[in-house]
Amino acid sequence: MAHEHVSNTKRIWLVFGILSVVTTVEVILGIIKPESLHMTNFLSMNLLNWIFIILTIFKAYYIIWAFMHLEGETASLRWSVVAPVVFLVLYLLFILLVEADYVFEVFKRSTIKWNF
């Protein structure tokens, strides 16, 4: 499977199309910043940012699966590449972002003022 010699050109251009469309949507949303999305919060982040992050992961999936051709590798290779990254990144983000929010709260409620 990993070394099939048939041409994948059609799929490559299709994926390029998907990535371009998604990027265009991101840029348009970033420029317009629709009120309804930008002002509505979900899990302490606004919906617009959630959309950006989901679209980014969607793009990352296509780059890794189609361009880096992880879809053609054995399941064991796929897992040994994807699982550590996903696990460690989620762990790191959880710790750092929760901690950062805590530090923010401490500064906000304490007598230390940033804006003199």
């Binding site: 490559i12 880096m68 003199f116």
Partner: protein
Amino acid sequence: MEATAHTAHTQQKTWGGGNEPLGANYGKLMMWFFIVSDALTFSGFLAAYGFSRFKFIETWPLPDEVFTHFPFLHGVAAPMYYVALMTFILIFSSVTMVLAVDAGHQMNKKKVTFYMFLTIIGGLIFVGSQAWEWKNFIKGEYGAVETKGGSLLQFVDDTGKRVALADFAVDLPEERAELTRSRSTWFQSGSSLPSYSLAEVQAGFKAHPNIRVRTEVLYKDDAAAKADKSIDHSLTKHKHKTILTREASEQFLANGAIVVEGANLVRNEYGSKLFADFFFFITGFHGFHVFSGVIINFIIFLNVLLGTYEKRRNYEMVEKVGLYWHFVDLVWVFVFTFFYLV
């Protein structure tokens, strides 16, 4: 499925060497594991950026106010267009790379050469674009004043539009000497002087009654903020930077300490000091990856031209550098989101 089939086939000599349990050879596997470790490095940087951003969530600069330049459109605010263009260039060079790999599978030397060439060109354009982006970032556009407490004051007119220091600062007859080696001992030198002194900015502020100070604080449309008399509520919008009244502006500016123009690793005119540090570090580290990717691609390109892989009867080297090149694109997708969109 196929993994089981593979092991069943090689069961007899599992430890005898010569089999590939992951269905990939040594070089490709090591490239994958290098990519995993590099991905974790970049995740560390971006998570640190997230940490600082959440820590200063109320005062962080708004990216669409910082990155507004586009080549040949001087003075036109074009947020995001340029990075969007850079993103397309990098995605497209990723496409030509994967086409080169595909052509390599078919042992088509001519096509591999052509697509590798396009990939290298795309990479060079991207690095060039990043240099241009850095130039604008370092040069700055409006200028700002840093207060004694370390917070940043920017300037707007009475419609809330940004005003550059050059538009209102006056020229005072004063001597300002840059601290250079020739004026002091050899080991001393100061940073280059900004175009205006603090006194000139303050005098210009007094002479122009329409100028207001904009602070770093993101305005939150709640009761506490509405009761604040120092905020100009007609100009300030929810989730935008706070604009002060004329009186409050004067008080804030009296506390000024340094005129800041552009960005360096110590301070920048956009807001939080960490913002510029992270910008330089993360985009710089990514740019370094692109640059080394271009060099590696070029070496492989030369080998393709020389017919090395034609003699080897396989183009797997192209596939390996391809993995690295796609990874660089992958990182950019995340940098793009977290630096420019979110």
